[in-house]
């Protein structure tokens, strides 16, 4: 019992000179920083799908690419973050369909986009007008809807489709 009392006395004195151990915290931060820097450098494609859009899983290549982005969700189609076409459960209004199977609204918007690209390319020779277009589609989308969107894009010369997928391996 006497020994125990002595120990308590010693500890009470030591607490007066206690300092916060920051070294271990610095170690944790260092590990976090290395992990985050590593994961940030491997994400080549910066695509942030809207809420509710679930991309299909596959093994796609990470490519640095600048191209118009078309996002297809259950409620509509967005081009470069602008809501262009609205529908319910992927069903495009038949009145909006072109004879080729595209969507009139989408074709009109993509035409504007193409004209803008051509104007920029005229004044800046570094800018090339190409056929690339990124398709960010929900995995439950029926092929009929995809076909309508791809046809609309093809009518404006966008025939090199890049389908966004979630990489299975990572």
């Amino acid at each position: 019992m006497m020994k125990k009392k002595g120990m308590f006395k010693k500890r009470a004195r030591a607490s007066d000179e206690m300092s916060l151990q920051i070294t271990s915290m610095a170690d944790i931060f260092m590990i976090l920083l290395v992990f985050l820097l590593k994961s940030a450098s491997t994400n080549a494609v910066q695509i942030n799908p809207s809420a509710g859009v679930r991309l299909p899983a596959s093994t796609g290549e990470a490519q640095f690419l600048e191209a118009p982005r078309v996002e297809i969700s259950k409620s509509g189609v967005m081009v470069e973050q602008d809501s262009i076409l609205k529908f319910d459960n992927f069903q495009i209004d038949k009145a909006d369909m072109t004879p080729e199977g595209g969507s009139k609204t989408l074709v009109a918007h993509l035409e504007k986009l193409r004209k803008r690209q051509l104007l920029i390319a005229k004044s800046n020779t570094d800018v090339k007008v190409d056929a690339k277009i990124i398709i960010v589609g929900d995995q439950s989308m029926p092929y009929g809807t995809l076909k309508a969107v791809l046809t609309s894009a093809a009518l404006q010369g966008y025939t090199d489709y890049k389908l966004a997928v979630v990489n299975k391996n990572q």
Binding site: S58, G137, Q139, Y161, V166
Partner: protein, 155 residues
């Protein structure tokens, strides 16, 4: 952190050489960096699959047309149809297995075609309007193991 410059005897006489390394600013910098990286990082790795439309496929631009054209159709009820036209004309229907498309059977057929016609490098993939996008992507993945160029068809 105490860095002591004192000899073996130590003692209070040399206390001026004991100092604490100030880690607080380093921690501050780390906190800001970690917060920034957490906010800007994407935890999903997104890749891109190449596809074209069958009308503008690379096979169409060949100087000499390929010996065969391969077309794969996805049908409702997990059915796959493989059609070849040209030097070898045939049609194979593959029923689904355990609620999935028979990708193993498809791969075997495509490998056989690749051995017979090594110059063929493109396949046209079409599907019924009701087929889900994820099934199309899965089929594309299965095809790309033997035929690198997949064109979407049915337009």
């Amino acid at each position: 952190m105490n860095v002591s410059g004192g000899g073996p005897s130590g003692g209070r006489g040399r206390a001026s050489q004991d100092f604490d390394l100030n880690l607080a600013p380093i921690i501050d910098a780390f906190t800001v960096l970690v917060t920034f990286l957490l906010a800007s990082s994407a935890f999903l790795s997104i890749g891109l699959l190449d596809a074209g439309i069958s009308a503008s496929s690379p096979s169409a631009t060949h100087a000499t047309p390929p010996p065969i054209q391969i077309r794969i159709d996805l049908r409702a009820g997990m059915k796959l149809e493989l059609k070849t036209t040209g030097k070898s004309s045939r049609s194979i229907a593959m029923a689904g297995k355990e609620g999935h498309y028979d990708f193993e059977g498809l791969k075997k057929e495509l490998e056989g075609l690749k051995q017979s016609f090594p110059t063929v490098d493109a396949v046209t993939l079409a599907a019924d309007n009701s087929i889900e996008y994820k099934d199309v992507i899965e089929t594309m993945e299965a095809i790309r193991k033997t035929q690198p160029n997949v064109m979407l068809g049915g337009f």
